[in-house]
Symmetry: D2
Subunit: 348 residues, 4 copies
C-alpha cells in the first residue's frame, strides 16, 4: 500500500510550469525569423498578422484552442492574453477549459511524464497520460464533482456552454477557498468579461459532472444548449466591425469560430469575413479534415479573408509562446479598446 | 451571367461516387497485408480485430467518424455497415451527418475538384472546397432550411442530438419527395434503429438551421442538450456487455465514445473498458491532442483494453473501404444479434 | 545460453512474406477510387498515369526506392515489375539493394516484430529493428562478407555502383549455392538487363564490406565512383526519347533521378523533362526537404512535366501493391519494347 | 525582354538572411521549455543533452544535415557552430554543401518566395523553388562551373567527398576574388580543420560539375570514392573516445554517421555507441524509413546509446536556432579541446 503510494508519488513529482510570456521578449528573434524561410518565416508572418490584429481598433480577436497545450505549459499564455486585453473571445474544447484549467484552478497540477511509460502500470496507479504528461485521476474526479456542485446550485434551464462557464468563474470568485489558483483561465475570463465557448462542452470532465447532475435530478436539471452557443458567438461576430482568429490546434473550436460568418449570412446579416486569421498546427492538409484544412480553403467558403491569413507548421508549445510574447512585448494591447463582450450576452 | 453559370457548371460536373464495399472482396489482399509490415500489417491486424468484434455476440460496435470521408466517397461504406448490421451506434461530427449525408439525402452531390484551385475564383462562384472536393453552397443552404423546417415542426423542448437526428430520419421517411436518395445514412440509421450522436451538433449546417429556428422563435424553440447525448451514449455503454470502437479520424467523436467508460464509472457503474478498438488516422501522436493520441494511451485512462487495439496510419479513404469490405465479405454480420439500440432510448 | 537462443528464435519466428501482385487484381477497386476524393483519388490518378507510362512506347520508366518497403513486404513487387518489363531502370538506397534484397538472396529473411519492443532487449539478442520489422544481425554480417568477397575478386579500379551491383548479380548467377532465393531483385535485374543505381551506395551493408575490402588492401582495391553513377544515369536519360518516374519514398534516389534532366542540359544536351511522375510518400511538404517536395515544385526546376504528375499521400506498403497490381493486370507491359539498358552501359 | 528581366528581379528581391545565434540568448526560454511538455520539453531536453556533449572533453561532435535548412536561413548557425568549436565533423547532403553554401560563398543568394507560386511561371524565369524559397538557376550554373574548374585543376585520382570538399575550401581561400562571402561553411570548415563528408556527393550541383569534368576528360579525370568517405568517417569514430550526434533532418547523412559504429565493429574494433544523440525532424516514424526512425530504434542496432537521446518534433528552422543559441550562450565551447580532425585525414 505504502509502496504503491510511494510509486505514484514518484510518477507525479515534476509539475508542469506554465511559460510566462511577460518574461521572454521574443521580438528580435521573430524579426530574424521573418527574413528566413519555412516554419520560421511562417511564424514570423503570423506574428506580423497578430500585431495587425492587435493594432486594429475595429478588430474583435477570437482565440480558439483545441488539443492539450494548456496542460502542457501554455495555460498562462492564454491567461496573459486575456489579462492583457489581447483576446476578446475564447472558443475551446471542454478538456482545455474544464479538465485542464478549472482543474488547476482547484489547486491540482499536471506532471511531466514520459510517452514511453507502460500504460498498464499507469492505469494501476490511476495516473492518466496525455502524451508525455501525467494527471492524477483521483484529482480529476474532484473536478467532476465541483462541476456537479455548480450545476446543482443553478436554476434548471438551458444554458449555453458560455453561460455555464461564466457560472464556473463566478463560483471560483465566490469560493476563494476552492480557487487555489486565482489566475485560472476561467476566473480571469470571468473577471475580464471575456466569454468562453465550448462547442462540444459535454465532451470533457464537465460532461461527467453534468451527466451525474442530470441522472440525479431526472426532472429538475439544467441542460447545455449547443445551439445557444452558436447563436451567441454569431451575435458577437455580428456586433464586431471586424474580427481576427488565432487558432491553436484545430478541431471543433476552429470550425465553430469560422462558421459564424456563414451563420450571420443565413440570419440575413451581411458581415465581413474574418479579416485576419492564424493557425498553428501540425495537421496535414492531405487528410481533408477541418483541423488540417488551409485558411485559403476557408476563403472558398467565404469564412476568412485570404489576404491576411497564415498557417504555422509547428506543435503549438514551441510556436505559441514565441508569438504571444511577441504580441505582449510590442505592447499594442495597451491601446486596444477593452470590449468586455460578456456584458453583451448577460445582464449581470 | 450565362457565362458564370457555365463556368460553375464546369466546376461541378464530376460527382463523387461512393465506393461500394459489397463489390470488392478484399479478403485475399488483407491476408497478404497481414504477413507484411508497416501500414499494410497495421491494416491487416485492424481487420482481424474488426472481425473479432463482429463475431463477438456480446460486443456493441460503435463507429465514430470525424473528417470529411463521407463527402469523399465513403458514405456508402457507413450506410452498408449499418444496413448489414456491422455497426450498432454512430458518433459523428455534424458535418458528416448533416452537411454531407443529409445534404445528399436531399438529392445534392459532392464533386471531384482540385486542391490547387484558386479559392477566390471558387468563392466568386459560391463553390465551397474541402481539399479536392467541391460543394455548391447554394445547395447547402437548402440543407440549412430543411433543418429549420424540421425544428419548427417539433415540440419546443431539449433534444439530444441523437433525438433530433432521429427526427431528421423520420422526416426523410415521411417526405419521400424530399428524400431523393433513399439510402442516406440518416434514413438508413432511422430504419435500422441505429442511434447517431453528434457531440458538437451545432458545429455544422444543423447549427445554421437551428440558430435560425431559435432566432425566429425567441420564446418557443427547441434546444440541443449536449449533456443528454453523453448521458444516453453512456447508458448504451452500460447496457452493453462488451463494446468495440471503430474510429475514423479522431476529433470529438473519438473522445466522446471513449469517455463513456469513465462516465459510467462516475455514475457508480462498473463497466468494462472498450474491449476492441481500431483507429484510422494520419494524425501525429507528437502533438499531444486527442485525435492523435494512441489507443495505448487511452489504456492509461482505463478507456480501452490495450490487448485488442490497433492504430492504422492511413488516410481513411484508402484504408476504410478495404477494412469494411473485409468485414462485409467475411459475412460474420449475418449471425450478429440485431441490437436496434434506438429503441432503448425512445418510445416510438 | 540455450535459453537465449530460444528467446531469439521466438523473436524471429514470423517471416515477412512479400505480396504477390499477380495474385490480386485491383483494377475494379482502383476504378472506384478514381471517382472518390483525397488519397483514394490520388492513388487512382497515379494508376492512370502509371498506365500511360506503360503504354507509351517511347517512355523509359525509372523506379526510385527509398525507405524500407522492400524489407516490409514489397520486394516481390519490385522484382515483378522488373520481370514483367514494367521498369527499365532502378535507383535505390544501398539498404534496399544490399541489406534487404541481396540479404534475402543469400537465403535470409526479415521478420514481423513490434515497434513497441524494448530495444535494449533486442540489442542483447543481436536483433535489429526497422519500425515493426526484425533482422538477425548475425545474418546481416554474412551479407557484408559476401560483398567483400565479391570486391576482392574484381579488378581494382573505379566502379559505378551500377557496375558493382551488376557484379553482385553475376556472382549470384555464378554461385547458385549462395543464391538461395533466385528471384532476388539483384539477380532478376541482372538477368533482365535492368541497371540498378545507388547514389549513396556505401551508406549500407555494401559500405561495410567495401570498407573492409579497402582496409585489407590499402594499395590494391576497387573504388565506387559516385560521379560515374550520375554520368551513366544521365546517359540513359539522354538516350531515352521520354521518361517517367515512379518514386517510392524520396531521399537521394528521388533527387538523383530528377536531376538527370538538368545534368543533360549542363552537358549541352536538350532533353525533355520527365514526362510522367508519381511519388508515394507521407513526407510533409512543409519541411522544405527534397523527399517531401512536390512534383510541381520540381516543375520549377525543369525536372518534371507538371501535366502528368501525381503525389500519393500514403505509406507505400498500402498503396504500392495496389498500383503495381493495377499496372500488372492491365497487361500493357506485354507490348512494351524491352530495353535491356544494362547493355548500353557494359560490354558483357 | 526588359519586362521579363524586371519580373524576374521582382521575384528575387527579398534575400534570405541567416539567423545569427550569437545575437539571441535563448537560455531563459529553453529553461522554461524544460518544465513544459510536448515539443517544448523535447527541445528543452535536447538542449540539455547538447550541453552535455559540449562539456564532455572526450566527445567528438558530429553534425549531420539533410534538407534545405541552410538555404532557409540556418547556414550561419552551422558556420557559427564550426567557428566556435561546437562541432568537430559535418556530414551533409551535397545540396547543403554545394548548391546552398558554396553557392553563397560565390556571392549568390537565396530569396524569400512563396510556396503558392505558379511553377510554370517560375520555370519561364529560370527561378528554382524550394518550398517558399527561390534560387536563380542562372547563378546556380556558375556554381556547377566552379566545381568543374576545381576538379580540372586537381590530380586525377579517387577522392573522398571529404577530400574534394577540402579542395573546395582551399580554392576559396586561394581565390579571394571568387569567395565573395568569406564566412561560408566550406571555407570556415577548411580554416578550422573540420572535415565535411557528403555520402551522396554527386547528388547535387557538385555532380553536375564533376560529370562535366569526367565527360570532357574521359581518360584523365578524378573520381569520388564513396567507400573512402565511409572508411574515413569510421576512422574518426575509432579515434574518438566518445561521440555525439546532432542530426538535422535525416536522410543519408543520418544513416551514414550512425553506421560508423557498426563499421568499426566489422573492422574488428570495439568502439562505444554514439553516447549522445539528438534529431530534429518532422518525419513520421510510421513510414519505417531511416529518416523518421527513432533514436531508440537505433539502439537496437547498437548505434546510439539510448540513455542520452532525444528526438525533437519540429521543422528545423524553428528549433535549431534556439538549440544552437542555447549552446553558444552557455559558453562551454570555450573550454572544449579543439580537435581539427581534418589533420588526421590529410597531410597538408
Amino acid at each position: 500500500m505504502d509502496r504503491e503510494r510511494q510509486q505514484k508519488a514518484e510518477l507525479l513529482q515534476r509539475t508542469i510550469k506554465h511559460v510566462d510570456i511577460t518574461a521572454h521578449d521574443t521580438r528580435a528573434l521573430i524579426a530574424a525569423f521573418q527574413e528566413m524561410s519555412f516554419s520560421a518565416r511562417e511564424l514570423g508572418r503570423a506574428c506580423e498578422i497578430f500585431e495587425r490584429m492587435l493594432r486594429d481598433p475595429d478588430c474583435t480577436i477570437i482565440l480558439t484552442v483545441a488539443g492539450s497545450t494548456s496542460a502542457a505549459g501554455c495555460m498562462q499564455v492564454y491567461v496573459d492574453m486575456i489579462r492583457h486585453n489581447m483576446v476578446d473571445v475564447v472558443v475551446a474544447t471542454g478538456a482545455t477549459v474544464v479538465d485542464m484549467d478549472f482543474f488547476e484552478a482547484l489547486g491540482f497540477s499536471h506532471y511531466r511524464g514520459s510517452q514511453f511509460a507502460d500504460d498498464s502500470m499507469l492505469r494501476a496507479h490511476y495516473v492518466d497520460r496525455i502524451y508525455d504528461t501525467y494527471i492524477d485521476e483521483e484529482e480529476l474526479q474532484h473536478c467532476d464533482r465541483a462541476i456537479k456542485e455548480i450545476a446543482d446550485a443553478l436554476p434548471p434551464k438551458p444554458y449555453s456552454s458560455r453561460a455555464f462557464i461564466r457560472e464556473m468563474g463566478r463560483w471560483l470568485v465566490a469560493n476563494p477557498g476552492c480557487a487555489a489558483k486565482k489566475a485560472s483561465l476561467v476566473q480571469s475570463a470571468f473577471e475580464q468579461g471575456v466569454p468562453i465557448f465550448c462547442p462540444a462542452f459535454s465532451d470533457s470532465s464537465a460532461g461527467f459532472g453534468l451527466v451525474a447532475h442530470q441522472v440525479e435530478r431526472p426532472n429538475d436539471h439544467l441542460t447545455i444548449d449547443s445551439v445557444a452557443d452558436f447563436r451567441e458567438l454569431t451575435e458577437l461576430k455580428m456586433q464586431a466591425k471586424d474580427s481576427g482568429l488565432l487558432i491553436v490546434g484545430g478541431g471543433s473550436p476552429k470550425n465553430f469560430a469560422q462558421d459564424t460568418v456563414v451563420c450571420a449570412e443565413i440570419l440575413g446579416h451581411d458581415v465581413p469575413m474574418h479579416k485576419y486569421s492564424i493557425q498553428i498546427t501540425v495537421a496535414d492538409v492531405r487528410d481533408g479534415a477541418c483541423s488540417s484544412s488551409s485558411l485559403k480553403e476557408a476563403g472558398s467558403w467565404g469564412k476568412v479573408d485570404a489576404s491576411a491569413e497564415q498557417m504555422v507548421f509547428a506543435e503549438a508549445t514551441l510556436a505559441l509562446p514565441l508569438l504571444a510574447a511577441y504580441g505582449y512585448h510590442n505592447g499594442s494591447w495597451r491601446d486596444r479598446p477593452k470590449r468586455r463582450l460578456a456584458r453583451l450576452l448577460t445582464r449581470d
